[in-house]
């Protein structure tokens, strides 16, 4: 089916990266989308070609030259019977087409709703200007994982994502897996994800939410159940202890100075929840909700001056001395 879509939309071929692609169809709802989209595109293309055929025939039809200057008047109420019949046929055709599409849409919607009975995994995602707070809760209530700007999902497992917002309206959208769902302050919404293929995907906020709306992405990893459990087990660990004097200096700075006002590192004195949880920060793929890829250079740039990397972010540019910067980055890199 998706090959058909690619044929209809040849330009889609020019970007086959596909990790943030509505035509990816890598989740239950995403696959339904692709099927329905192909159906709609086919029907709409047919109708379009019909209209165009009529239009060009009407304009280019051969006519006797002598007619050119005469005016046809007064017969507007009594159209030729042929025209009346064509009009009726056209109305019926539109009606049937719409009916078919509406029914297809309803059934797809129902199938989307049915995909997700009995969720096996529950995740709570809270939107913030401009990052995602992600919490996993398990049957064992003593265990819970808190991370940010990343979502790990085991393949084939029905996950229910509960959505809330701490500030303005955001919209949760991982196009390969499913459609979008708004996060609205004062309301709790939810969306069900059933990933069908392992891989790395990307989600992005889809409702304008302020200055850095463009930099509010979510790294999604769909992995095997075993890998997911390994990841979860690692996430349940407290923040790794510093091993070198430099890391220790960074640890001290982060847990006692400005950083600890907003961030949490489990097992350390830093336990605020204003900003993203940093406990296993270095294990993520990107910095600051997809603003920069995770690497040492970008970490330096981000910690030294977040405001120039993501202007308007709530993280202030503190003005660390070079020694402090080296130490902070060293410890952040330790947070695997």
């Amino acid at each position: 089916m998706s090959r058909v879509a690619a044929l209809i939309l040849p330009l889609a071929l020019c970007g086959c990266a596909g990790f943030q692609n509505a035509l990816g169809g890598d989740g239950g709802e995403g696959a339904n989308f692709v099927r329905l989209f192909v159906l709609f595109t086919a029907v709409c293309t047919f109708m379009y070609l019909l209209v165009m055929a009529g239009l060009f025939a009407a304009v280019l039809r051969r006519r006797r030259n002598a007619d050119e200057l005469t005016v046809d008047t007064g017969k507007h109420h009594e159209s030729a019977p042929l025209v009346t019949r064509a009009l009726a046929a056209w109305a019926i055709l539109i009606g049937i087409g719409l009916m078919a599409l509406t029914v297809a849409s309803f059934f797809t919607d129902r199938s989307n709703a049915a995909i997700t009975r009995d969720p096996q995994l529950s995740v709570k995602v809270t939107g913030n200007q401009w990052w995602w707070d992600v919490q996993y809760s398990f049957a064992d209530t003593s265990k819970s994982i808190r991370t940010a700007n990343e979502l790990h999902l085991p393949v084939g497992v029905r996950a229910e994502v509960t959505l809330e917002s701490n500030d303005v309206i955001h919209s949760f959208w991982i196009p390969n897996l499913a459609g979008k769902q708004d996060l609205i302050p004062g309301r709790v919404t939810d969306i069900q994800l059933v990933p069908r293929k392992t891989g790395l995907y990307r989600g992005q906020c889809a409702e304008f939410c302020g200055v850095q709306h463009a930099h509010m992405a979510l790294d999604v990893t769909v992995e095997s159940k075993a890998e997911f459990l390994r990841w979860a087990a690692a996430q349940l660990q407290p923040a790794p202890a510093p091993r070198t004097p430099l890391e220790l200096a960074g640890y001290r700075y982060i847990t006692t100075r400005e950083c600890s006002v907003c961030h949490n590192l489990s097992g350390t004195p830093a336990s605020a929840s204003v900003g993203p949880d940093l406990t296993h920060f270095a294990s993520r793929r990107s910095i600051a909700a997809g603003t920069l890829p995770m690497n040492k250079g970008n970490l330096y740039g981000w910690v030294a001056d977040p405001q120039s990397q993501k202007p308007g972010t709530k993280m202030p540019t503190i003005g660390l001395s070079p020694d402090e910067l080296h130490a902070v980055v060293a410890y952040l890199q330790r947070l695997k």
């Binding site: 990266a17 009407a58 849409s105 919607d109 989307n112 709703a113 303005v168």
Partner: protein, 648 residues
């Protein structure tokens, strides 16, 4: 009582009227003396002539189009490559907010209303709109609102919340400074203006049609005007309420949209889209009116299936009020309710499809002349149908949940609004330009700019469908490389520049033709509706004698000869009112004289509205100058009563 009756029976006083004994140049001189606006700048400001008002509306709207278009070019430059840093995040957000707000509130609706104000009295065969001063007042209110927005933008306090300004982002906590207040108050200005125009046009159409112009003989454009005016009257109060709630949340601490105090953020979306969706049709239906007129004239035959086209207009106008939730499919409302809105949204394509059939069939059975206005109509059909069909796609909940708020939507609504409204508008400007200015626009320049606009548009907006499917959300100031978005965005940017140049060329054509265009006769295209019966440009009083109509295409059926009625006074501004359904002569009615008070009242209103951005007390104290202006505006003139027999 008895004396009044006796007086009425007495022979009519000697008031000069138009008629067989008063005609030609002598009539022209006397009617001009009555209907011309006073000289000088004050006279210019005082004008209540619908042609002046309409022209000013159109010119102002085109200025805003140019400004909004410049912003579009800026956005396309920023998005021409990934991670571009030409324009920063905050500035970009202001720019797209200004672009959307300007195009929707300051260009699209006003330009359509400007065309309607200009054309409606001419097409129904009367001398003025029903409420000339109210119409003048609306013009100045609209211009004040537009200036407020743009001056704020230039002073760097322009709104940055998107053109639909969802709270809480626009609310007191997250909308910083006065930016959202300026946006909300600009909305109030334009709502007041639009409502005033709508009321005036509705009354004009219902009561001032030429004798014999029954509802079933009205030009389709007049039908479209009637339907959109009624839609304005029913939809605009909703957004005026919404923006007033927002302002009071921000200014006096009400909590309409604050969930923490049992308000509801979604209330805004319901109120806004209850207006916002009809607004799209308020822009689109006049365009279908343009298309119907142009198709008939250039195919040289009356439109096919006139009753179906009219019923389609009315049906679209009614259905438009049952669709608003399709803007909110992602908010998590109950799914059963969504199904209703899916079906309702899809059903809009039935009347629209029938109209398209009627236009194509009219061309099929007629003899189309390929001149610029008709070219725009053909471009309209080619382009708009794509937008309509993508509209069918996003009416389906499962598709919309993916496509909503992506560039696919950006593509969709530009196909609908540019393809569906701007193309017909450009055709209509070319079509009625000779009527308004007395000169033709250059056909050669017109064709060049037509092809540039048409092809540039497809290049700019078709790739946006692709970038949306590839996962590009709208309203992002930048996007990462490697997602496949580079090529579609580059193509869009190139196309955008072509469109900008083409629109510039169109405007140059207009400006050059005003001065040096070929002189136009009264009926240069051999059209059939009444506006072509008077000179180009029309005199201040529109028609020397009020025409009488006995068919839907009066100029064609009468072979250029029109029956007229006599008997309107020439020393006084007087109109002939007719009955609502059958347009039989009813009464003669005086029409308002030029007055500076509408513009003064608009200024007082501006002071009050702008002041209320800063203090709630402005609402209280601002009413004083406004009340003074309105009192002077409505001050009754003392005049000798003349008891004359009425026309029957």
């Amino acid at each position: 009582m008895t004396s009044a009756l006796e007086k009425a029976k007495a022979p009519p006083a000697k008031v000069p009227r138009d008629g067989p004994r008063l005609t030609g140049d002598k009539l022209h001189a006397r009617l001009s003396a009555t209907w011309e606006r006073p000289r000088g700048f004050i006279g210019w400001l005082s004008s209540v002539d619908h042609k002046d008002i309409g022209r000013r509306y159109i010119v102002a709207a085109l200025v805003f189009l140019a400004l909004g278009g410049a912003l579009a070019v800026a956005m396309r430059l920023q998005l021409s490559r990934p991670q571009n840093d030409l324009i920063g995040a905050a500035r970009y957000n202001e720019i797209f907010t200004m672009h959307g707000t300007t195009m929707m509130f300051l260009f699209a609706v006003p330009v359509m209303q400007g065309m309607q104000i200009y054309l409606t009295p001419l097409m129904v065969g009367t001398r003025a709109v029903a409420f000339p001063r109210l119409t003048a007042f609306s013009l100045w209110t609209y211009i004040a609102g537009g200036c407020l927005l743009w001056i704020a933008f230039l002073l760097n306090v322009g709104p940055d919340i998107g053109w639909f300004a969802y709270p809480p982002l626009s609310g007191p906590q997250y909308g910083v400074g006065k930016r959202p207040d300026i946006w909300a108050q600009m909305v109030t200005f334009t709502e007041v203006a639009a409502l005033a125009v709508a009321v005036s046009l509705t009354a004009t159409i219902l009561k001032q049609r030429a004798p014999g112009m029954t509802l079933a003989r009205m030009p389709i454009f007049v039908w479209a005007t009637l339907v959109t005016s009624l839609m304005v009257i029913f939809s605009m109060p909703s957004v005026a309420l919404a923006s007033s709630f927002l302002l009071s949340d921000r200014l006096v601490g009400t909590h309409f949209y604050n969930p923490a105090e049992r308000g509801d953020a979604l209330l805004w979306q319901h109120l806004f889209w209850f207006f916002g969706h009809p607004e799209v049709y308020i822009i689109f239906l006049p365009a279908t009116g343009f298309v119907s007129e142009i198709v008939a004239t250039f195919s040289r035959r009356s439109i096919i299936a006139y009753p179906i086209v009219v019923l389609s207009l009315v049906a679209t106008g009614i259905l438009a009020f049952g669709l608003w939730v399709h803007h909110m499919f992602a908010t998590g409302l109950p799914r059963v309710g969504y199904s209703f809105f899916t079906a309702a949204s899809m059903s809009v394509s039935i009347p629209t499809g029938l109209q398209i059939f009627a236009w194509i069939a009219t061309m099929w059975t007629g003899r189309p002349r390929m001149q610029v206005p008709l070219l725009y109509v053909i471009a309209f059909i080619i382009t708009f149908v794509i937008g309509g069909l993508t509209g069918v796609m996003i009416a389906a909940v499962p598709l919309d949940l993916q496509l909503h708020d992506t560039y696919f939507i950006v593509a969709h609504f530009h196909y609908v609004l540019i393809g569906g409204a701007v193309f017909p508008l450009l055709g209509a400007i070319t079509y009625w330009f000779p009527k308004a200015t007395g000169r033709m626009m250059s056909e050669a320049l017109g064709k060049i700019s037509f092809w540039m606009i048409f092809l540039g548009f497809q290049l700019a907006f078709f790739p946006m469908h692709i970038s949306g499917l590839l996962g590009m959300p709208r309203r992002v100031y930048t996007y990462p490389a490697g997602m496949g978005l580079e090529l579609p965005n580059l193509l869009s940017s190139i196309g955008g520049l072509v469109v900008a140049l083409a629109v510039l060329l169109f405007v140059i054509n207009m400006l050059a033709s005003v001065r040096r265009g070929r002189l136009a006769p009264a009926n240069p295209w051999d059209g059939t509706s009444l506006e072509w019966a008077t000179t180009s440009p029309p005199p201040s009083y529109n028609f020397a004698h009020i025409p009488v109509v006995d068919s839907q295409s009066p100029l064609w059926d009468g072979k250029g000869e029109l029956a007229v009625v006599h008997g309107l006074r020439v020393e006084e501004r007087e109109l002939l009112l007719t009955t609502v359904m059958s347009a039989t002569p009813d009464v003669r009615d005086p029409s308002a004289h030029p007055s500076p008070w509408p513009v003064i009242a608009a200024a007082a209103l501006t002071v009050m509205f702008v002041g209320s951005i800063f203090s709630p007390w402005a609402v209280l104290f601002g009413t004083v100058p406004l009340a003074i202006a309105l009192t002077a505006w409505f001050w009754p003139k003392t005049k000798e009563p003349t008891l004359e027999p009425s026309i029957s």
